[in-house]
Symmetry: C2
Subunit: 161 residues, 2 copies
């Protein structure tokens, strides 16, 4: 059963996030000649149950309950695949994964991580991207993977406090 997210930026119509994510995944795999196997599809679905990061072992527990295998590589392989295709992101500051609303597109990503409700919003801020590119370029540094994870309180939680 899909849990509606009270924290996400989707305004209570979360089924749409999930459907869209699955459709994007399907399309990305078709275009790149890759296989969206049942397990990969299911992991993507589970990651998208909420706009909160999910731990790999949480996913593993749920898969186990559904009759899938129970060893860590099961879920890590699926997550690695999805991350490589830009369908999910790994948030290293919390050791967890979130669905990416931009499917397989090329994009730098930044995350607002609410420490109160646990919600995560992915933002794409051009100014921030440019700032990173400029700061790196000024030092001759060639950027491969910029990672911006901003911890704090989301608007809703900040207002409540």
């Amino acid at each position: 059963m899909t849990v509606l997210s009270p924290t996400g930026p989707c305004g209570g119509r979360h089924e749409r996030c999930v459907e869209a994510a699955l459709a994007r995944a399907q399309e990305v795999c078709r275009r790149r000649g890759l296989r969206l196997t049942p397990i990969r599809r299911r992991v993507l679905q589970l990651v998208w149950e909420d706009h909160r990061p999910v731990g790999a072992y949480d996913l593993l527990d749920r898969l186990r309950a559904e009759g899938w295998g129970s060893a860590p590589p099961l879920v890590y392989r699926a997550l690695s695949f999805l991350a490589a295709q830009g369908l999910v992101h790994r948030l290293s500051s919390v050791n967890a994964f979130v669905g990416c609303p931009r499917g397989g597109e090329r994009h730098g990503a930044q995350f607002l991580i609410c420490g109160d409700c646990g919600g995560v919003e992915e933002i794409v801020d051009r100014r921030l991207d440019d700032g990173i590119a400029a700061a790196a370029a000024a030092r001759g540094f060639v950027v491969a993977a910029p990672m911006v994870e901003i911890a704090g309180s989301c608007a809703r939680c900040a207002a409540a406090a």
Copy 2:
């Protein structure tokens, strides 16, 4: 024995980085009425042996070799203390720690992490700070701890390739 860093931004005079770091730590603790105990001091020194992030268990191995205790909390407690005083930073994208060249000052920090040589340069870029503040503010998000870790290749390694 202190290893001179070929990768750091200190131009081969790395002893100065270490000395300065220890002096800053001394001063910070004095000002705040805290104790720079032998173990904390030694951990800070070890972290500063190079401009590369060091894993907690690497530190632990070295401490063990020097006759200190051998249980993880030993090193995690020292690192927590140093991090709380702004003397070291934890790089969550690599699960490791680096010395902070800005001592106990208040500052947002960003890191350029070279995937080839493993070197890390801490930068303080006002434009980047502002970009983060603006992006968050635009969404009503209250920033507590921004984290920017940019993976790529440093100037030296990029030139070599």
